[in-house]
């Protein structure tokens, strides 16, 4: 087993090393205010590239070459006519015979642009295969002049021997690359242009992503998708957005291509799209250059899961995924520009069903901070999942008048009378200033030992002792930070009906205390005076992140025989 653990450790280490760049630039970039991706005017550029590549492909017969396996032989184009001059040209290998194959002991290092933001180094046999594939020395054509319409994205490629850079290239996504003379330290302009027409090839003769993975093409009318660009939600479940997804992903020129595992890709400038079909979910990272890294999950059959890359010659412009606002909140709901008079606000975080009431004195300002209603725009499109809270506005009679789901990115959903509307405001600023356990019970920080009785689900009981008391109480009230829960929440009422669903902890110190601890972290707490007469027990309701762990501890203690 030790051998197995060592192998696992080695693989994890390799994986972690490969997927965490040393340069922190991409984190700093994300820390800065997210920039909207520039609207790249790529279509005109790419149209020229497509024409050019189709011409070359027609000459070389490479596109749609069946069974063009990974790192296959690219030598079929040796001696081809130059696509621009129609004169016979020379190949990279003919001009640089010493680089016809990767020199022995050389490693190959890829750096995205010049930023060092993300790099990847390959060694040994794999490096030789990658070198041969990327530069195809026997078939890459020399080009006399700098090509027009070069893509914006490129990689610096270094051949390294014993830690020293011995040769440098610049590789473009469309197959162009420069060889930079070793003596050129950067500005001498001693470089030569080449073009590798086989950089993209079709896997197994597939014509598009849709034909390669037909079972992943969802019904566009029922498309359930999420689009984020640098963590900004761009929109989803919107028909024209779905049309764009289909246009770009499913049909036009989205060719499955060779594995780009060795190529470092930008860490921030990409869109994330997740779309789900009946039996599959597809998660993609989309780069403006046209490259898409995808992962397909099959429901209930993970052995079919598959990942890969595909390339779209048209590139991507993220703006087409954006939803255009169709009005303002102030126009559709003028009554919601401020918190309506006499209303309360409750909220629940994430998937929790437990609502916490915002203190009345803070409610109006809290509402403004979270919703920023003056600036909110009506979107008529569904936002994807994100960090969110649910908010309810309850009128003076206890009726829930509005239910809202508010994403931290500023998008929010209002449900009223069964109608759902999405809005987009500035980034929401919510803070949880609700009343805590220690606000209401400031003196109750310690429970006296040897007096604590636990009553379990089967009505059996045992005495809680020592550190267990401290552990359970600490977790149950989260060190006093447990939040007051809205007792009118349906889930609470439902839970409280099931008296077997919780553990009871009781103790006395002149007063009688009882805390009911539920599996979901809900605590119902009561402090009573044995001499007083109550119309009803003065229960307090709390919810904490660690309440569920207190419940688990009690399960364990019960299983261990108390």
């Amino acid at each position: 087993m030790d051998e197995l653990k060592n192998k696992i450790k080695e693989d994890i280490k390799k994986d972690a090393c490969k997927n965490t760049p040393d340069d922190i630039g991409y984190v700093w970039k994300a820390i800065e205010e997210p920039k909207k991706p520039s609207r790249l005017n790529r279509l005109s550029l790419i149209a020229a590239c497509v024409t050019f590549m189709i011409l070359v492909a027609a000459v070389t017969g490479i596109i749609l070459m069946p069974n063009g396996g990974l790192f296959g032989d690219n030598s079929a184009v040796s001696g081809a006519l130059h696509p621009e001059t129609s004169e016979e040209t020379v190949t990279f290998a003919e001009m640089h015979p010493e680089l016809a194959t990767l020199p022995e002991d050389n490693g190959i290092r890829f750096i995205y642009a010049d930023s060092n933001a993300y790099e990847d180094t390959e060694q040994g046999e794999n490096a030789a295969k990658i070198y041969s594939y990327v530069f195809a020395p026997g078939s890459s054509l020399y080009i006399e002049n700098t090509p027009d319409n070069l893509p914006a994205d490129y990689w610096t490629v270094e051949l390294k021997s014993k830690g020293e850079v011995v040769n440098t290239f610049r590789l473009y996504i469309d197959g162009h690359f420069t060889y930079i003379e070793p003596s050129d330290t950067g500005n001498a302009g001693k470089y030569e242009w080449f073009y590798n027409p086989g950089l993209f090839r079709v896997c197994n003769g597939a014509e598009s992503f849709a034909t390669e993975h037909p079972d992943c093409v969802p019904d566009k009318e029922k498309l359930d998708l999420t689009i984020t660009v640098q963590n900004e939600i761009y929109g989803c479940r919107k028909n024209d957005i779905a049309e764009n997804i289909f246009k770009y992903f499913m049909k036009d020129g989205s060719l499955p291509c060779f594995d780009f595992q060795f190529l470092p890709l930008p860490r921030t400038d990409y869109a994330r799209i997740i779309f789900a079909g009946t039996n599959t979910a597809v998660s993609c990272r989309i780069y403006t250059m046209g490259l898409v890294e995808y992962y397909i999950s099959y429901n209930g059959n993970s052995s079919k899961n598959v990942s890969g890359f595909f390339f779209n010659y048209e590139g991507y412009d993220f703006e087409c995924f954006k939803v255009v606002p169709e009005g303002k909140l102030s126009e559709k709901h003028p009554e919601l520009l401020t918190l309506p008079e006499g209303y309360n606000i409750s909220y629940a975080v994430g998937n929790s069903d437990i609502y916490t009431q915002v203190p009345q004195a803070e409610a109006a300002q809290w509402y403004q901070n979270v919703l920023k209603p003056e600036e909110a725009l009506y979107l008529n499109a569904d936002s994807g999942a994100y960090e969110y809270i649910w908010v309810r506005l309850v009128d003076g009679n206890g009726n829930i008048k509005y239910s809202m789901r508010i994403n931290s990115n500023g998008m929010f959903l209002i449900e009223t009378d069964g109608v759902l509307e999405w809005y987009k405001g500035p980034k929401a600023e919510w803070s949880f200033t609700a009343t805590t356990f220690s606000d209401i019970n400031p003196l109750l920080t310690v429970i006296p030992e040897d007096t604590v009785t636990v009553i379990g689900k089967d009505n059996g009981s045992f005495t809680l002792t020592g550190k267990d008391i401290e552990d359970i109480w600490e977790k149950a009230i989260d060190g006093g930070n447990a939040l007051c829960a809205d007792k009118d929440t349906d889930i609470i009422n439902k839970l409280l009906l099931d008296t077997q669903a919780c553990y009871y902890i009781t103790w006395e110190d002149g007063y009688s205390y009882c805390a009911e601890i539920y599996e979901n972290g809900l605590i119902r707490f009561a402090k009573t005076d044995p001499l007083a007469v109550y119309d009803s027990i003065p229960y307090e309701y709390y919810m904490s992140d660690t309440g569920a762990e207190a419940y688990l501890l009690l399960v364990e203690l019960t299983a261990a025989g108390g």
Partner: protein
């Protein structure tokens, strides 16, 4: 690979004062562990990479809340957990727990096993809570007790998850014929 909590505490104390150098130091020191942990939560590499980035963004933005002298490692792990869970939540799709997001060649599962890509193997065969304990223990050399503190779970639960993870891994490998029973 086992990180020294006092070193992390030192770096985070610096980050709290706004030191970019300290932030970059804590990033370089802890990035691989946070990635491994995020991977154990998300179950896929793309999600883990994004979670790590988001986690460090949050470390920088919330550094003022860090209490020097505390368990900096547990603080980092907590932030990474939230970031990784957010990543999972973003997917909210139908098969999140099964996702293994191989980034490599288009290999079938069997091929992946032959190539001894144990990371994929773990993603496929272990539950999320088992992965968390197993990967931290195997990769990070942390004791089960340390991991219990980091993940804020009872030691017995951590021990049970680890034992269960090892049993499942061994059984799966035997089933695939990679190791002998």
């Amino acid at each position: 690979m086992r990180l020294d909590p006092t070193v992390i505490d030192g770096y985070l104390s610096g980050v709290k004062t706004g030191s970019k150098e300290s932030f970059e130091s804590v990033y370089r020191y802890s990035k691989e562990l946070l990635y491994v942990y995020a991977l154990s939560v998300t179950g896929d590499r793309l999600g883990a990479e994004d979670a790590v980035q988001e986690a460090y963004v949050k470390v920088w933005q919330n550094a003022d809340k860090y209490k020097p002298g505390g368990n900096g490692l547990a603080w980092l792990i907590t932030i990474a957990r939230h970031a990784a869970l957010d990543e999972k939540d973003k997917r909210r799709c139908i098969v999140v727990s099964d996702e293994t997001a191989k980034k490599g060649l288009r290999k079938s599962h069997e091929e992946a096993v032959v190539c001894a890509d144990y990371v994929d193997f773990i993603m496929k065969n272990l539950k999320e809570n088992e992965r968390q304990v197993a990967m931290l223990h195997i990769y990070g050399d942390y004791t089960i007790k340390d991991i219990a503190v980091m993940l804020n779970i009872p030691v017995t639960a951590a021990q049970w998850r680890y034992t269960s993870a090892l049993k499942k891994l061994k059984a799966a490998l035997v089933r695939e014929g990679t190791v002998n029973g």
